[in-house]
Symmetry: C2
Subunit: 215 residues, 2 copies
């Protein structure tokens, strides 16, 4: 029961590079097809590595999926801190970020659909990031940039909704807007709308000033 096993091994080895190749190929495959739809063989050939290595590094398909998510999460985490200021700035900013990294939105969408109430990957870290985000909103409320009429959590959810929905539902967006989400023209126009609409989050007196300026 011996196997042939005469090999044309790649001249040099490079565990780091192999791991990296697998992860980035897996992100593409999972973002495109989801967990159930993704094919391990497709990931392997996309990464141009032997399928066996994938099991070597990540145990199984699910382990790989989790690793991909985890990596993206930590990547985004650092990124998330980089925003502050007026809603008229942050809304377009987050919208553009979602457009640029649609794979990230899609990964969370797959997560949303797959997961039925179990514990999430990196739950703790993610909650901590959310908590820091809420804190920043509170600060902006204190500074008068955001209305104190609203619960910070409501504000965060509303902002996420407005900025991510078009990327999460590109087919509905295209139907409503008549343009692809990835059309630069749509992105510019939507950013402009969000900038205008963002006054909804500001305190009433600031709103009135803005409205008077505008007229």
């Amino acid at each position: 029961m011996g196997r042939p096993a005469k090999t044309d091994v790649a001249a040099t080895r490079n565990p780091g590079r192999t791991r990296e190749r697998i992860l980035s190929a897996a992100l593409k495959e999972f973002a495109a097809k989801g967990f159930a739809g993704a094919r391990v063989d497709a990931i392997a050939s996309r990464a141009d590595i032997n399928k066996r290595m994938l099991y070597h590094y990540f145990g199984d398909k699910e382990g790989l999926f989790k690793a991909v998510l985890r990596r993206k999460i930590s990547e985004r985490q650092a990124w998330a801190e980089a925003s502050s200021g007026e809603p008229t700035e942050t809304l377009p900013f987050w919208f553009e970020a979602a457009c640029k990294d649609a794979d990230w939105v899609r990964m969370l969408e797959w997560e949303a659909l797959q997961n039925s109430g179990q514990k999430l990957i990196d739950d703790k870290e993610r909650r901590a990031t959310v908590a820091r985000g809420l804190e920043r909103i509170r600060q902006r409320q204190a500074r008068g940039q955001i209305s104190s009429e609203f619960d910070p959590r409501d504000v965060m959810l509303a902002m996420r909704s407005l900025t991510w929905f078009p990327v999460a539902f590109p087919q509905l967006t295209e139907m409503i807007m008549g343009k692809s989400v990835f059309d630069p023209k749509f992105q510019r126009e939507r950013a402009a709308f969000l900038k205008k609409f963002a006054v909804a989050f500001q305190p009433a007196n600031v709103q009135r000033v803005k409205i008077h300026f505008a007229k």
Copy 2:
């Protein structure tokens, strides 16, 4: 190559009922697991019909998926017409509708993730429904219920975003709000927020009146 085929056929036949059972079982399975994740055998046993019937009526798995979507679309279509009036009423209304029919939101979410720019199922009818929705928004703008500052399409997309996002991303919602999307308490509170927030869509003078009343 004969098969045994001694059968315990159900006493009565009922094509309509069988079709219906398959469709409703398939909706549950597809909404829960998506196209790739759904199992034809699971649908058959859930519907308590022979798997063969599923192929008899719908050709193949994809045909069944399309049939399920199509059915839900026409169901929702009629429903969609039933809304009009102030944004302070429609936003909570649509949010509650999304919560009640999470399967529908999930189906569109699966569609969003699967579909990469190909033609959609029932594309024409859906666009027509969107067009009618936009027309209703224009009417409300004319009546002064919605600000004419905004493009109706921007308004529709923003409203969809605000009302559907929590159902589409329950895990993020739970992280931000600390409550499950399906917790009645969350639903009440969110409806209240949306009602308050809806003034953002109203004309500036109406907003000012509301703000003065509130204070």
